[in-house]
């Protein structure tokens, strides 16, 4: 049986528990970044495929290397190796440049199947998986919310009206919605094993890139927020306050 090759994108992001801060329109990235939870779903699917078929799973990533904590977290789940690009010229890269770089990393990993989360927690553009598929000239099966792995692999796609099924083609890009599968937690052994897995920094100059920066940052302005209104501590009767309001608003 031919070895199946899978590339999964994993993004290192600032800990989402902290407030995001920007300078010159670009998100500030601390040295220690964590694995985007959104990517855990894609990694899980790759690992389930690996368990059924003989597969090699390569993590692909772009962004400041930092302490590599996020990359390690991806490897701890069970991926085999990682390729990443960290280049100062990519600071503030738009989605197309990002997709261009990631598609080159997918090529380098010789992946048949390339897997993404649907959108990163810090950027939210939600276009990179589809753009990568177009760069690679592969079909894109987006918004996958379920997978059944037998001899055939059946994917369930989220649609605006409900859902639909597609059998996983031999070569394609898929994007996975949160909640589609249950990402695994690494145990102590997995965490130790990850430390000896190959992590390779790829020189940007070796990649064939065509996308350029076409979006120029203008400004960030604060909007008048905090319209905080009345706050009532419930001592058993606060529901009356809501009913009063609903009457006033003619909802009842």
């Amino acid at each position: 049986m031919i070895l199946m090759k899978i590339a999964v994108c994993a993004k290192q992001i600032p800990d989402p528990a902290n407030t995001m801060e920007y300078s010159e329109g670009t998100l500030n990235r601390p040295d220690e970044q964590v694995l985007d939870d959104t990517d855990r779903y894609g990694i899980e699917i790759a690992l389930q495929l690996k368990e059924k078929f003989d597969a090699e799973v390569t993590i692909i990533s772009m962004g400041p290397e930092g302490t590599q904590k996020g990359l390690q977290q991806a490897l701890q789940m069970g991926a085999d190796k990682a390729y990443f690009v960290d280049d100062p010229s990519l600071k503030g890269a738009n989605s197309l440049m990002t997709a261009n770089v990631l598609s080159q990393l997918a090529l380098k990993s010789e992946a048949d199947i390339v897997i993404f989360g649907t959108e990163s927690t810090d950027g939210y553009s939600g276009t990179v998986p589809q753009q990568v598929s177009r760069f690679l000239n592969l079909d894109c099966i987006s918004y996958v919310k379920g997978i059944e792995i037998n001899d055939e692999v059946k994917l369930t796609r989220q649609t605006i009206e409900g859902s639909e099924n597609i059998n996983l083609p031999e070569k394609c890009v898929i994007s996975v919605t949160a909640g589609g599968v249950e990402p695994r937690y690494p145990n102590f052994k997995d965490i130790m094993a990850a430390k000896s897995k190959p992590v390779e920094k790829i020189d940007l100059a070796t990649l064939e890139l065509t996308a350029e920066q076409n979006l120029e940052f203008v400004t960030i302005e604060n909007v008048e927020s905090s319209k905080a209104g009345e706050k009532v501590v419930d001592e058993g009767e606060a529901f009356n306050k809501i009913i009063e309001k609903l009457k006033e608003l003619k909802a009842i």
């Binding site: 649907t118 099924n165 597609i166 979006l215 905090s226």
Partner: protein, 305 residues
């Protein structure tokens, strides 16, 4: 500025997102055409004085790549400068594919834009609506994915005046097409929305939310956390990755109010929040905040309404 709007069919007519973008285009007075994507036969989508093409896709085949190729060629042949579409599943795929063909990165999650001196400036909402982010598109083509409810919809009478374009099949079939039953008031157009979060503790407790919704003729939504937990279908998710709602009254039950949730509901006219945690961020945008246990407040509402 020569503009192309990529629209979608919903319930055999133009989707609300499409009507909203048409509303903005009309206000700008820019020259535009409409290419609408759908899978039904003979939808009622034609509008007087708007040139429209209907891309009728085969629902049982993955054709989005081929549709994008058609539209990319149209954009090049007709020297279209600005392309507008809603941030829906279908249009996100299409715009992403086109962006590679035109080597022009799209701008996602746009809440407003302007055109001056031949260039497009876009506005995004960041940090859960606390700040706006402005950027300028410097490429030959500008591709914008617009968030729902960003603009007032155009009012139109529909006819069947449009050209139909056929699409070639790919070699990927689609099967088991499932349409979720939609009962009662729908999130997008209900005057009252009641949403549930983790503070509801257990899926079974949603029955009290449904009871209240029935009494108020409200639609029910939820946070990403409870949708991921399987308490509600994804179609009911409110927030960044889910739906955007702007009802007259929004009642947030046991929702802490993460920025990703706020993006989907902060423009509601009157926000009522019930949460145990006095420090919950939802209270910063609530018009009426009740610091208390949702599980004890809601049954009392149900008894007394």
């Amino acid at each position: 500025m020569k503009t192309l709007i990529i629209g979608e069919v919903s319930n055999s007519t133009l989707s609300s997102g499409t009507l909203e973008i048409l509303g903005k285009a009309k206000e700008l007075g820019t020259e535009f055409e409409l290419i609408t994507i759908g899978s039904v036969d003979a939808p009622s989508i034609g509008i007087d004085s708007i040139t429209q093409k209907y891309v009728k896709r085969n629902a049982e085949n993955l054709q989005f790549n081929n549709i994008a190729t058609m539209i990319s060629e149209y954009i090049k042949d007709n020297e279209v400068k600005l392309v507008l579409s809603s941030s829906t599943y279908v249009c996100r795929d299409i715009i992403s594919f086109i962006s590679v063909d035109l080597l022009s990165s799209p701008v996602s999650n746009v809440i407003d834009f302007s055109i001056s001196n031949g260039s497009v400036e876009t506005i995004n909402s960041i940090n859960g609506g606390e700040s706006i982010y402005k950027s300028k598109v410097n490429s030959e083509h500008a591709l914008l994915l617009i968030r729902p409810k960003a603009f007032e919809p155009i009012e139109a009478e529909f006819n069947d005046n449009y050209d139909i374009l056929e699409v070639e099949d790919s070699n990927i079939p689609i099967f088991n097409i499932f349409k979720e039953e939609k009962e009662g008031p729908q999130l997008e157009d209900s005057k009252i929305v009641i949403s549930a979060g983790r503070g509801m503790v257990d899926k079974d407790n949603l029955t009290m939310i449904n009871e209240l919704a029935n009494k108020l003729n409200a639609a029910v939504g939820g946070t990403r956390a409870i949708v991921d937990a399987g308490w509600m279908p994804y179609s009911q998710q409110v927030g960044q990755t889910g739906k955007t709602v702007k009802p007259d009254i929004y009642i947030a039950c046991g929702i802490s109010g993460a920025t990703q949730h706020q993006v989907g509901m902060k423009d509601s006219k009157f926000i009522i929040a019930i949460n145990k945690d006095e420090e919950a961020p939802i209270f910063q945008i609530a018009d009426l905040g009740i610091v208390g246990d949702t599980l004890s407040v809601i049954p009392k509402l149900n008894e007394n309404i």
